[in-house]
Symmetry: C2
């Protein structure tokens, strides 16, 4: 074997690991991987089927993409760097800006399928908001598309007494969004908690974000608290994990 | 079909989604799933093979486990709640405690395969520590096992001028660990940054942590800074994502 990427695991996986390392090392500056017959030579003795399996694995991970008639390319997607502290600072929404201004810089953001409903809190939502089950809440559900790619589904819940009569109940919440409107009403968020779990997507999530197994999603749940430590909103976000770098700054 | 878990995706996946929802709703209080022939009845018309595929998916996700001769059970693993702010506070390591005291409470923690080396910084490490390539660094590599389960591999890099002559170069770093020793030497961490990406494991990582595809790992990279904004250490952690709930608190 001309290249020897370590033993123990299935051969296609070892080849995938080696190719991944070569991609990260910047070995393919034009972004184009060698054609299959060259990979067969490089990893000989190996079958073309095994090479294809390795490439399929990298494709599933979102690392490469096939361009019909042209070959396999390193995917050029730059991860969205999501700095929690900066994007959610009072300075940001207090200044009427969107938290997305920071994340995507010069990229194209589209918010799709905004759906607003008022409905009784189901048990998990009531628990998260620390309100009685069945109390009225507003649910704001939407999908975020960056540079034409669906990257996140967000479902936010706000208790009715905080949302009623404000633009939180409207598609366009106005400058600074939901947090700015809560601040207008005397409930400015003073702190947040985010909880992250990564896992394979459900079938519905995979279809919604066009994530292909085994690429994981990250489930990020954000709680916003006011100065009286009341939970103002809870936001359950499903992220295509391959699109994001989550960044948290905190003091010692 | 007695239970109709939505259309569009392969049948086994729809069954897996439905079973997952039932598990989360607490429908199996003893933790034992119905036996295969009962599941065939519940989801009829369906083959036993499809039921098995659905159960295999939940097993791969770490949600259920098979107990030989007994059936399929909801896995009883409680996620490790890793609160970044609490565990890394100066109060914690300054008091000589381990950050793990907070995460695992009453659980059994074992640190395995501690390996310490002094070596020249490779490019990615040099970049992360903001030092010239090839400068000497100490690498502390170890695996964390909680309740008998490998949950994390941690590889930490510390510049030689900060580590040399301290217990950072020893297996037992003493009370409060690496950060306390840096503080002793006048370089107390004052802030951290953690960056998170989730992805399928490499073959080596899957073997190391016994993660089975498509269960993802989370790669958490932590930078510690002193008051002069010097990068003191960079720690690259590979977590079995199914074992963790990552929690971050931050101000507005």
């Amino acid at each position: 074997m001309a290249r020897e990427p370590g033993g123990g695991s299935p051969k296609y996986q070892r080849v995938a690991d080696d190719l991944r390392a070569r991609i990260k090392a910047g070995e393919f500056p034009e972004g184009r991987l060698p054609v299959e017959r060259d990979l067969v030579t490089q990893y000989a003795p190996i079958s073309q089927g095994t090479i294809r399996q390795a490439l399929a694995k990298l494709r599933d991970e979102g690392l490469v993409e096939s361009r019909v008639g042209s070959g396999v390319y390193v995917r050029s997607w730059r991860p969205i760097v999501r700095n929690a502290l900066q994007r959610l600072s009072a300075e940001q929404w207090g200044g009427g800006r969107s938290m997305w201004d920071i994340d995507i810089e010069d990229r194209d953001l589209e918010v799709r399928d905004v759906q607003i409903e008022q409905l009784p809190a189901e048990p998990s939502v009531a628990r998260a908001l620390d309100i009685p089950e069945g109390e009225l809440v507003w649910r704001r559900n939407r999908k975020y598309v960056v540079d034409g790619v669906a990257v996140m589904r967000s479902t936010e819940y706000i208790p009715d007494d905080l949302a009623r009569g404000t633009r939180i109940t409207q598609v366009d919440t106005g400058p600074g969004g939901v947090y700015a409107r809560l601040a207008d009403a005397g409930h400015a968020p003073v702190r947040y908690r985010e909880e992250i779990q990564s896992r394979p997507p459900s079938a519905a999530e995979a279809a919604d974000l066009q994530v292909r197994a085994p690429a994981p999603v990250a489930e990020v749940v954000r709680y916003a608290f006011d100065s009286a430590d009341r939970v103002l909103t809870v936001n359950r976000m499903i992220l295509d994990a391959s699109r994001y770098l989550l960044q948290y700054d905190f003091p010692a």
